[in-house]
Symmetry: C2
Subunit: 279 residues, 2 copies
């Protein structure tokens, strides 16, 4: 496994990789969710590039850019075990040099849900993903279902901007109690960690009701919210029942594939989770 | 020479081209300026793609989208003579399908000059160029110096977004009286056509003064403006003496390489032209 930092090193290393090339973009501090993307990519691609970059432009003021957890040596060990061929760890000043001013924006899918609470977050995401795509030129790129809106936004961007890159969205990987894996789970203390399982419980409560025939999106949202507020450490920011591609909230009858999602503060830590409803 | 319309046809045809591939993006109604780009690309690249697409998103309300001149059969003949391998003529509804919402924006270089008079023009340009780059995957792309701000904006975008594409900017091609070639020259009637030579005369007046030692940008602008308004058919919209990369207006002493540019209405037709000052 080769590790590079600069664009010129990346170009040389990329030119030696046999295609198809798979890309696993990460912000590091890897967990089983990331590794599941690498494993899937390893199965589907001849060569595998992972990137580790805590992208400053997708963090808002007051968010956790400065405290976001980091452990590059451990990340590299894990990626090597998954058979990654090339790891690119760019510097922020190379990615956003003085005078940087080109932005990619997806205008509508970024408005609701996370976009409503994190202005400019998705502009940062789509811009950095564009840069990673252009720099690494993959045939496939792997993202997690946990960031459901991000996946929808990137799919739209790839289609709108005519990228010839297949976007593969992999299932959320969970802890034994159902908590979705996230680098941010490290922020939780012991009580909060126990409380954080409420997100998945709330999603399952709605899924169970759906299985029993409930099709009213307001009732599904209310069930999730009731479950969340029953946990003293939890403070829901939003609960949503929306179309998985348009992200428009459902008002009438809900159907299979609807996206149930939520953002919840557990103490001072903001967590998100989601499932797709299924019969 | 192969001609394709759809993305899937393009992909198949592109995959058969030997690299390096050169791209000449055009809006059609080709003149010697376009052909000079194709000739340069033919010398420098193994394969050559030209695109013909009148991009609706770079036209503002009240601009000449509906009347922009078209002659595809003639364009194809000319491109074939220049040794173009592949011509892509996309449809507007394939390029901007229902739900299209992804935009590329260069924020600062697009503010002055053309950007100040044509809001959203450059957003349309950078978005369509991104789409053309992603769809055709060239190693080099060719643009004309006549659209000086466009060239600066695209260079910045390519650098900021990490495209591994070399941008080649070719000299403006002129009619015998100095008028810069433009598909829009066809809008001029006989008197206007004669009057249109005033743009290049004005640029040369400033260049001559510069050669004689004039270094005050205000005097250079005034000289250009005086020449323009001496022509009864001409109505200057702006004259500029600016840095060629930042496009910031010069206030102090002007140096070699400064961009002299202007937009001028000749009758109802808006023309632009520019030169780079040289000793």
């Amino acid at each position: 496994m080769k590790t590079v930092k600069t664009f010129s090193e990346l170009r040389v290393a990329r030119s030696k990789l046999a295609e198809p090339v798979g890309l696993v973009p990460t912000m590091g501090y890897l967990h089983e969710g990331h590794l599941s993307l690498a494993r899937r990519a390893r199965q589907e691609c001849t060569s595998l590039i992972a990137t580790i970059f805590i992208n400053p432009t997708q963090f808002g003021p007051g968010e956790d850019l400065s405290t976001y957890p980091r452990d590059i040596p451990r990340d590299l060990e894990l990626l090597e075990k998954e058979g990654v061929d090339l790891v690119w760890i760019p510097n922020a000043i190379d990615m956003y040099p003085l005078g940087f001013q080109s932005w990619v924006r997806v205008s509508e899918l970024t408005q609701p849900l996370e976009g409503a609470r994190r202005p400019e977050h998705f502009r940062g995401v789509t811009t950095v993903v564009t840069k990673l795509f252009n720099a690494t030129m993959p045939q496939k790129a792997y993202f997690g279902q946990k960031d459901a809106q991000q996946a929808a936004v990137i799919r739209r961007m790839v289609s709108d901007l005519n990228y010839h890159i297949q976007i593969v969205v992999c299932p959320t990987v969970r802890e034994p109690d159902g908590l979705a894996m996230s680098s941010r789970n490290t922020y939780l203390d012991k009580d909060e960690r126990r409380a954080a399982a409420v997100l998945y419980r709330a999603l399952n409560t709605a899924q169970d009701a759906y299985l029993k025939g409930e099709r009213d999106p307001n009732i599904l949202r209310s069930l999730m919210n009731a479950e969340l507020i029953s946990e003293p450490f939890a403070r829901p920011q939003y609960v949503s029942c929306a179309h998985p591609d348009t992200l428009m909230e459902h008002f009438g009858r809900v159907e299979d594939g609807a996206l149930l999602s939520m953002a919840v503060y557990i103490g001072g830590t903001r967590l998100i989770d989601n499932i797709l409803l299924e019969e």
